[in-house]
Every structure is written in structure tokens, then in C-alpha cells.
């Protein structure tokens, strides 16, 4: 079906996009051929949606060029790209549920007769178009009368009828059941038969193998590679997504043995979020959490820190039963946490770096016992120096810092409370290489000084570098625990995909 010998229908090269505080896309390339289904994969924050938004003009790209049918284009917005021939359908169907199917299909380009809306023709044409996709429904009914899958096909039909060169499907199957997915895929196959190039973004690897011809993988805003599906296995893809080689950091073999047991979790879990698991954490130990997106990494972190209280199992801190009901109580028990999403869950943007750093410590002390000016300066100076946080002044709002420095300030916030257990969720996501290395060094340093750490990361190689133990997750289960020499990226990938093979 796909025709790679001819010229590509779309070619984007050197695409870069910077946000204050992070590099979202760095020199990314994407080539689409007529009639192919091209999967675009990557963890959260890898840059998939940023890339799509740059292609459709929803974001202004900071560098790079886009060619459509050999012509350089510069779409200024989704409407513009739509008229050029690039249609997009999102997970949340962006149609109008209170209008009819036909209205939705033709909104903005309704057929007219003598300048008036020709409703009869519109309904008939809508019926024809939809039955072309194997959909026999009444287009004169309200869109909301139909299930999401049908609505999605209507959205696709609308996008394709108007443009018809490239169709981007952004996680279209996330809320569909198997039958609906089959319907969607049959529609996708009809489109490729017509020569349309389809970009398919998803987190479901088996669906990628079912429908895609080629795959492009992004990691941390950079292109990992583009492959023919026939040439790769699921393991290869997982490795591409999670990364295997981290040249600068090799696994150290000379680590000291962990100390006393700190936190014991037994049968700990939360229904609908994370299946019950056991975990035995020791002082001076790093436990890594590995797995694909949605495997339960972040959820594990959340129940341990009490962001969401566990509803089963029990926990013992130094042999005493405890409950992690909310972050405040966890911090009181000398837990510290750096969340996955820096911007929404981490920084308090308009507060100064200084205030952000002392925030947790102050909250634990209580509002009525303010830290003295001297004490605050002491703490802030110490961590700015120790973590090498680069800033013009500690009084500048934290939102103006770069991503790496924001992350360090958040680490400082947690460290200022002198935690015994530090939980890090994606501590190195979206930050520059230098800060990345520094944070990994810091993790080693803290462990060596007796702190217990739990680190969730989508960077496998990174986990391998610093973890004493690695827990591999899949489908919200803790499926495998790797220890000592058994820790390597190959073993993690096998643990992730083995289950897949069994399923």
C-alpha cells in the first residue's frame, strides 16, 4: 500500500521548539509517505503532541521546515493546515454534540443553493460519505446520539473530506473498546487505500503492530529513530522509547550494602489505581520503578507519598504502623517528593525561588512559626550552592528558571525538610544534559549518605545507573523485581514485554 519509492507527501526536518524552562523539540525529523500508517511513539513529554502542534501550526516552531508534496508550507493555525491538506482528530472529539451529524460534517463548508443552506443535499451527501466508511447511520440525528467511536469516524470523515493528504490521529483509541477499535481501523485502512498518509499516536504497542507500517520514536524532545514495523520487535520499540545507552554513566559496582529497613509496605494498593504490592525500603538504597507509561509508576509513587491514600494493605515505618493519608502527614514523617509534572504539581510559579525552596519546611513548621530571615537565607544559599541552581536572584519568580534549575529548586524544597525517604518521579524529564548528569550524581550522593530513595523514571539506562533494585511495572502490577547483577536494560525490557507476549 505504502509507496516509499516515490517522493514523500510530507517531510518535516529540523523542527525545534523551546519553551521557557524546557526544550520541547530538538531537531526532529518526520517523513510521511502516501498510503502509510505511521505510528508516532514516545513517553509523556517526549514531544509527540508538540511535534503535531508544530506541524498543524497550533504552535509556532522555533526552527525547521515543513514540505507538503514538495512545496514548503508554513501553516499559521489548525484551520490553515486543514485547508492545506493536514487534518487532525483528537482523543476528545472536538465536534459539536448538539448539532446533527450532517451539520458537524459540513460545518463551515455547507452546500448551498441560491445562497441558502441546502439541507437536503447536505444530509444526502453526509450519508454517502459515511457509508463510504462502512457507516450506515442517519446523518440528520444529533451527533450526541451516537457513541464516541462513531463520533470519531465523523470527525475523521470531516477532516479527510476537507483536506485528504495527511490525517493525524492523536490517541483516537484511548477510550474505545475492541469492536470500536476494529471499526476505526477499518476506516483507517480505507483511507490509506485512497493514498492518505495517517499519523497514529497511541500508547498501545499491540495496536501499533496491528496497523502501522512504520514507526517514529521520540524521547525527551529528540528523535530516536524511524523504523519499518517489519524490522522491529516490541522489545526494540520499548528500548527506543525508554533508552538503553547512557554513555556518560555506567552502572557502579562498588556500592555499599543498604542499611536498616525504613519503610515496609505489605499488600499496599489502591483500587482502580495500583494493584497491591509489597515493598521493603532500606536506608542508603535506591529503588527504581520502571515500566511504560500508564504501567503504574506514578501511581506507585502517589500511594507511597499519600497523594492518593491507599485503600488496602498496611505500612510500617521503622517497625511502627503508619498511614500515608496526605502529603502533609507524609512530610511530617520525613518523606519528601518531587512530582512528575513540574509545572502543574511542582513549582508555585509566581512565588520566588527562595519561597519555593522553603515552602515544604515552612508548611511543616506551621504558619504561626515563621522561619527567620537568617534561617531562610542560610537554607536557600546552601542549596543554591550545593545543587548549583543557576539564577539571577533567589527573589526571582521560579517560573522564569530553566527546567533543570526548576527541578533542582524542587529537589532543594524536598531536601530542606531533611527527609529520610525521598521519592522522585521522573526527576530528569525535560531538562538539559548538564542538569541531567548533576541530578543523577545527586541521587548517588544522597544514597551514599544513608537516604532511602524511590525513583520512577522512563529512562531505563538512568535507572540502571543508580538503582540498587528495580521494580518493573506493567498494567498497574509490580511484575518483577531486579537486583544486583540482574539489573540491566535488557532484563527490564524483557520484563516489560514478556507479559505482553503471554497476554
Amino acid at each position: 500500500m505504502m509507496n516509499t519509492t516515490s517522493a514523500p507527501v510530507l517531510h518535516a526536518a529540523g523542527i525545534s521548539k523551546f519553551f521557557p524552562g524546557s526544550i520541547a523539540l530538538d531537531d526532529v525529523e518526520l517523513t510521511l509517505y502516501s498510503g502509510e500508517v505511521h505510528a508516532l511513539l514516545g513517553e509523556n513529554g517526549a514531544g509527540k503532541s508538540t511535534l503535531i502542534k508544530c506541524l498543524t501550526g497550533a504552535y509556532r516552531r522555533d526552527a525547521g521546515m515543513i514540505r507538503l508534496d514538495g512545496q514548503e508550507i508554513d501553516p499559521r493555525g489548525p484551520l490553515d493546515s486543514q485547508s492545506l491538506g493536514i487534518g487532525t482528530v483528537y482523543q476528545e472529539v472536538n465536534l459539536l454534540p448538539n448539532l446533527t451529524v450532517a451539520d458537524n460534517l459540513f460545518l463551515g463548508w455547507q452546500p448551498t443553493r441560491h445562497g441558502l443552506l441546502d439541507r437536503k443535499t447536505m444530509v444526502r451527501r453526509a450519508g454517502e460519505i459515511l457509508s463510504g466508511f462502512g457507516l450506515e447511520i442517519d446523518p440528520s440525528l444529533l451527533l450526541s446520539a451516537y457513541p464516541i467511536a462513531i463520533q470519531q469516524v465523523v470527525a475523521i470523515a470531516r477532516a479527510v473530506e476537507q483536506s485528504g493528504k495527511v490525517l493525524i490521529l492523536d490517541e483516537p483509541t484511548a477510550s474505545l473498546d475492541r469492536d470500536e477499535i476494529d471499526l476505526l481501523f477499518s476506516v483507517v485502512r480505507q483511507l490509506t487505500a485512497r493514498g492518505i498518509a495517517v499519523v497514529f499516536i497511541t500508547h498501545f504497542l499491540d495496536q501499533v503492530f496491528e496497523i502501522a507500517d512504520r514507526v517514529t520514536v521520540l524521547r525527551n524532545g529528540r528523535l530516536v529513530g524511524t523504523r519499518q514495523m517489519d524490522d522491529v520487535t516490541q522489545s526494540d520499540i520499548v528500548e527506543m522509547m525508554l533508552g538503553r545507552h547512557l554513555e556518560t554513566h555506567l552502572r557502579r559496582r562498588d556500592r555499599s550494602a543498604p542499611g536498616k529497613s525504613l519503610l515496609k509496605l505489605k499488600n499496599f494498593g489502591k483500587r482502580g489505581m495500583i494493584e497491591p504490592f509489597d515493598l521493603d525500603l532500606h536506608e542508603g538504597e535506591v529503588v527504581g520503578l520502571a515500566g511504560l507509561l500508564g504501567s503504574g509508576r506514578t501511581e506507585t509513587v502517589k500511594v507511597i507519598f499519600g497523594v492518593t491514600a491507599a485503600d488496602q494493605g498496611n505500612a510500617e515505618l521503622r517497625g511502627k504502623p503508619v498511614k500515608m493519608a496526605n502529603p502533609r502527614e507524609s512530610i511530617a514523617m520525613r518523606f519528601g517528593m518531587c512530582p512528575e509534572d513540574r509545572k502543574t504539581d511542582g513549582i508555585v510559579g509566581d512565588l520566588s525561588v527562595r519561597e519555593n525552596i522553603i515552602l515544604s519546611l515552612q508548611a511543616r513548621q506551621g504558619w504561626h512559626r515563621p522561619l527567620t530571615r537568617t534561617k531562610i537565607n542560610e537554607i536557600v544559599d546552601h542549596y543554591v550552592k550545593a545543587l548549583d541552581i543557576r539564577l539571577a536572584s533567589p527573589d526571582m519568580p521560579i517560573r522564569l528558571l530553566s527546567g533543570g534549575n526548576q527541578q533542582k529548586a524542587l529537589l532543594a524544597r524536598a531536601l530542606a525538610t531533611e527527609p529520610e525517604l525521598l521519592i522522585l518521579d521522573e526527576p530528569t524529564r525535560g531538562i538539559d544534559v548538564g542538569a541531567h548528569a548533576e541530578i543523577i550524581e545527586l541521587i548517588e550522593h544522597l544514597r551514599a549518605h544513608g537516604m532511602a530513595l524511590v525513583v520512577a523514571s522512563s529512562e531505563m539506562a538512568e535507572l540502571v545507573t543508580y538503582s540498587n533494585r528495580i521494580i518493573v511495572l506493567r498494567d498497574r502490577h509490580h511484575v518483577r523485581e531486579l537486583e544486583g547483577d540482574a539489573i540491566n536494560t535488557g532484563a527490564i525490557v524483557r520484563a516489560i514485554t514478556q507479559q505482553e507476549a503471554l497476554a
Binding site: Y59, V348, S352, L359, S360, P370
Partner: protein
């Protein structure tokens, strides 16, 4: 600390000065103050005195707005508090009992709002709308729909009396402003309130008890409204449930906005809101002193306030900053927070 505050409220002080000069322009005797009849007497005193209710409301409103909330119920809470105080003294109670009962009623209202917002997670505008509508009804039930008059000199003193020649309401709102400012800035309360207003999720993860803080700000708002309600009732020696505090929540919100505080929450300045309240009262004063027909009242007020808000808009502020910057080196200690609104806008 003091110089930082002065810097923060400089625009408000300039506006206040301009509006006061407008008063002077329409009535040359505006700045004249004399001591007569055992009390200070003059238009400036009136501005300070009549600004008391809105000033008291604006203190709590500033804190509520800093948490990204809003309290529409303060006007109705004023009516309730006034009615409660009047009911206590007409029932034979003393002025202190009346004041405490009114304050208790205000705190109860604040707790109600706080619980709806912090625990039941009702949107603040909806949560406080409930009491805004129902509260006046409650007040009317207490007064039975009439103006409940009283003659208790102690209670009347709170609204119409003087201490050392200064009208009591002036002393009350200034004291309240100082006390609350001292509490929020002398402790970590202010920073924690700002933190939950800017990013509640992050604040919760950092260990801040956002529920307790949210309830606290609505309690303070209810407390301020109760005192304002007692002052207004005492001033006319009667609790007028139909009219006491009517639409005053909007003036309080306006005072906070004129004070340069963002309705989106976060950084706040109580002093700036208090100056905002004085600005509003000075605008009212211009209208009263100008002798224009009352049909023009709202038009004049709207015009003056539009000008004030436009001057304060980020874009104009930024232009002014650029002008200043190009005229000479930018002042060194300025933080980007104050002077670079564009940086905020350019976030993705």
C-alpha cells in the same frame, strides 16, 4: 519591608492623590479639617469614615481573592451581623454582647462559605452566592422586615462615636488592617495563602494544609463583614436588613482590584486594597461634592474607575516601565515579578 510595600502601593497612592485633588477641584474646602463639637470634622475625615465598611470588607476579600476565590456574601453577612447586634441590644443585652454575637454570626457565615469551598469543593462564586441570596433573607427574618432601631449608646458609639475626636469606624478599620497585615506578613500565613492561590495542587504536594487555609480566609472575610455590619447599623442606630451592605461586595472586590491584586489569585497586598477602598470612597466624595444631578452618579463613577483600571492594565504598566527604562537605567533591585508582565504572558 516598608520600602517594598511603598513600592508596591505607589500606583495606588498616586491614584488616590489624583482623586483627592479632583475633590479639591470641585470643592476647594475639601482638605479643611477642624475640631468642632468634640470631633474632627471635614471631608477628608468623611472619606476615611465612610470608607470604613468597604475597607473592612476588602481586608478579608483580599485574602479570599488571593486563594483564587471570591466572597459574594459579605454584603448579606453585614446585614445579618447588624440585625443580630440590633436584636441583642433591643432584647436588653449590652453592646459588648451584641458585638460578640454579631462577630459570632459573621464567623459562622464564614465557616459555612469555607466548608462549601474547601471541603465540598463548590466553586467559590457559587458557594458564596448561596449566602448572598439567603443571607439577606435571614437578616430580614431577624428584623421582621423593618428597620430595627436601638438606642444603646455603647453600640451606637461603634458607628457614630469618636475616640479622641476621631470617628470610631476609622480607628476600627485601621486597627483591623494593621492587625491582619501583621498576622499574615509577620507569620508565614501570607506566603502560604499566596502559594495555594497560585498553584493549589503543588502547594498540597508541598505539605500545605490548603483546606484549613481556605476556611481561614473565609472566616476572616466573615469577621470583617460582621464588624462592617455592626458599624453600618450603629451609624444609623438601626439595622436595615433590606439595605445594609447592599451591593457592597462589589465595591469590596473593586477595592481589591484597584489595589492591583489579581482576581486569578496569588500575590496580594492588603495595604493596596485598603487604599483601593479609600480611592472608591474618594470617587463617591467627588460625586457628592460636585453637585451634579444624581443621574450622572454612576456614569462619573464608571468613567473614573475605567481610567484607573486602564492605567493599571499590564500593557500600560509595561509601556510605562519601558518609558522609565529608556529614560535611565532600570532600578536595580526590581524583581522581574513587578516589572515584566510580558514574561508572564509569554508562558506556553
Amino acid at each position: 519591608m516598608i520600602s517594598a510595600t511603598l513600592k508596591r502601593v505607589a500606583p495606588q497612592l498616586v491614584i488616590l492623590a489624583v482623586v483627592l485633588l479632583m475633590n479639591f477641584a470641585v470643592f476647594p474646602g475639601f482638605f479643611h479639617i477642624e475640631f468642632q463639637n468634640g470631633r474632627l470634622f471635614g471631608n477628608l475625615i468623611d472619606v476615611l469614615n465612610r470608607g470604613a465598611p468597604v475597607a473592612l470588607l476588602s481586608i478579608g476579600m483580599t485574602l479570599v481573592i488571593a486563594t483564587k476565590g471570591i466572597d459574594l456574601s459579605v454584603g448579606a453577612v453585614m446585614a445579618i451581623a447588624g440585625a443580630v447586634a440590633a436584636a441583642v441590644v433591643t432584647g436588653g443585652g449590652g453592646w459588648l454582647t451584641a458585638l460578640l454575637a454579631a462577630i459570632a454570626a459573621g464567623l459562622l457565615c464564614g465557616a459555612w462559605n469555607g466548608i462549601l469551598v474547601a471541603i465540598l469543593r463548590v466553586q467559590p462564586i457559587v458557594a458564596t452566592l448561596v449566602l448572598m441570596v439567603a443571607g439577606r433573607g435571614i437578616a430580614q427574618l431577624i428584623t421582621e422586615g423593618k428597620i430595627m432601631t436601638f438606642l444603646n449608646p455603647g453600640l451606637i458609639h461603634l458607628g457614630a462615636g469618636t475616640v479622641a475626636g476621631i470617628p470610631t469606624p476609622i480607628l476600627i478599620w485601621i486597627a483591623a488592617g494593621i492587625i491582619v497585615t501583621a498576622i499574615v506578613r509577620g507569620t508565614a500565613l501570607g506566603m502560604l495563602i499566596e502559594s495555594i492561590g497560585i498553584n493549589e495542587t503543588a502547594s498540597r504536594l508541598a505539605g500545605i494544609n490548603s483546606r484549613a487555609l481556605l476556611i481561614a480566609v473565609y472566616l476572616i472575610s466573615g469577621l470583617g463583614a460582621a464588624i462592617a455590619g455592626v458599624i453600618v447599623a450603629a451609624d444609623i442606630k438601626g439595622a436595615d436588613a433590606n439595605n445594609a451592605g447592599l451591593w457592597m461586595e462589589l465595591d469590596a472586590i473593586l477595592a481589591v482590584v484597584i489595589g492591583g491584586n489579581s482576581l486569578l489569585g496569588g500575590r496580594f497586598s492588603i495595604v493596596a486594597s485598603l487604599i483601593g477602598a479609600l480611592i472608591i470612597q474618594s470617587v463617591n466624595s467627588v460625586i457628592l461634592l460636585s453637585g451634579m444631578p444624581p443621574e450622572f452618579n454612576l456614569v462619573i463613577k464608571a468613567l473614573i474607575i475605567i481610567v484607573i483600571l486602564v492605567i493599571q492594565s499590564p500593557r500600560i504598566k509595561h509601556t510605562l516601565y519601558l518609558l522609565r527604562a529608556s529614560a535611565g537605567p532600570a532600578p536595580r533591585e526590581t524583581t522581574l515579578h513587578d516589572t515584566d508582565p510580558v514574561a508572564k504572558e509569554s508562558r506556553p
